[in-house]
């Protein structure tokens, strides 16, 4: 079983995502990927669906990756990586490879919640040995902030614009971790980059597991969330402390909540620092904040119940 690593041990490994990529200053994606790559003891093969991370780290003729990396399309990161994994298994059977290699697919929330869901579901069902990581920044940030099914309620995006008639996104967000766990895969978890200990441990656990594993990681986006670039890690922390993004894992059907805030931060504290929610500061929109808070409370209670607490 995987052991947790200290920050000093993590720092000893080689940097596999180097600088010079064109992600915005303060992007959450590269923080998540760096932490994960440092935590792995195995050589990794990465597949990425279209998104900020994929586009910005591989602007031709540059690449920021020091690990084998493949991109094919928006909707099929999971199908691509499972193809690579199947080839690896075949070559191993023939004795042409003897290394232990692990396979990781990464998609943003657009490439996972929406466009890539069918290929992800198929890959889970076929039971390939891979880890799927979703870096969820809650909209299609790469093309200029269009709503996705991961966009939170009442958020202002270009396709759910706030105005006299519309309050921002009118629907609730999809609970993808629950959907992934419903495939009865051996491991599904939610993590956040501010808690590097938890994130690296979950990734190491996911790599060890024989079969599909799913990691959903919150990734604050300074451009789309309309926040200061230096706030990224702090926003991830507040998302967890307010129970908007609970840290939990589902191992063979058993739910464990990894972190419980001593005092739940009111969601308003998290909303008020983000420009995409600035309309919620108006007194007439108090009801929307309450609806937001109620949904979080309901989900948190439901999660605790499912965890048997």
């Amino acid at each position: 079983m995987a052991e947790p690593l200290s920050i000093k041990e993590l720092a000893k490994s080689e940097e596999l995502l180097v600088g010079g990529h064109r992600l915005c200053p303060g992007c959450g994606h590269s923080i998540i990927l760096r932490q994960m790559l440092h935590a792995s003891e195995y050589p990794l093969v990465l597949a990425m669906s279209t998104g900020c991370l994929e586009v910005c780290t591989t602007i031709y003729p540059y690449t920021s990756w020091k690990t084998p990396w493949i991109h094919s399309a928006f909707e099929n990161a999971a199908a691509t990586i499972t193809g690579v994994e199947t080839m690896y298994r075949a070559l191993k059977k023939k004795g042409k490879i003897d290394k232990d290699v692990k396979f990781v697919a990464v998609g943003g929330d657009g490439g996972t919640y929406d466009i890539g869901l069918q290929s992800l579901s198929g890959a889970f069902e076929r039971g390939h040995n891979f880890v799927y990581v979703c870096t969820d920044n809650g909209a299609y940030m790469n093309t200029g902030t269009q709503r996705s099914s991961a966009t939170p309620f009442a958020a202002d995006t270009t396709t759910s614009p706030v105005g006299k008639k519309i309050i921002g996104k009118q629907q609730e967000r999809k609970n993808l971790t629950k959907i992934a766990a419903a495939h009865d895969i051996p491991y599904a978890a939610q993590a956040s980059p501010h808690n590097w200990k938890d994130l690296t441990m979950k990734f190491r656990k996911a790599l060890e597991i024989d079969g599909p594993a799913f990691l959903n990681v919150v990734s604050p986006c300074p451009r789309g969330w309309r926040t200061d670039a230096s706030e990224t890690v702090n926003l991830a922390k507040m998302a967890v402390d307010s129970c908007y993004w609970p840290l939990y894992e589902v191992e063979n059907g058993k739910i464990t909540i990894n972190y419980k805030p001593k005092e739940k931060v009111p969601i308003f504290e998290w909303l008020k620092v983000q420009g995409r929610f600035k309309h919620l500061l108006k007194p007439e929109n108090e009801g929307l904040v309450k609806m937001f808070q109620d949904k979080i409370d309901r989900d948190w209670e439901d999660l605790q119940k499912r965890a048997g607490e």
């Binding site: 720092a11 200053p25 670039a229």
Partner: protein
């Protein structure tokens, strides 16, 4: 980096030089630069673990400074440096008056 002609580009647009983006100077985007006081630094390495641009230099297990060639000046390192330590400060790149 000199762009290759179509005859030199590998088939399928495969990139064979791993980590070639280090040749790109993303540090030119910066308007604030991080400055570290190594005497105050307690080597908790939070700046390193939270840096989105892989720009905190670690030498022999200790924080040694910043890679200003690639640092975009987001300020996460200064923000996440523990409040009792505050070894990192963000200083404006331009010493002159700011427009507006």
């Amino acid at each position: 980096m000199k762009k290759k002609g179509w005859k030199e580009v590998p088939i399928g647009g495969v990139l064979k030089d791993k980590g070639s983006s280090v040749a790109y100077n993303s540090g030119s985007w910066r308007s604030f630069r991080p400055v570290i006081d190594l005497e105050k630094c307690i080597n908790c390495m939070f700046c390193w673990v939270y840096c989105p641009d892989s720009s905190v230099i670690i030498k022999g297990g200790l924080v040694a400074g910043f890679d200003l060639e690639h640092c975009k000046g987001c300020g996460i390192c200064a923000k996440e440096c523990p409040p009792k330590v505050t070894a990192i400060t963000m200083e404006p790149e331009s010493k002159g008056p700011v427009c507006g």
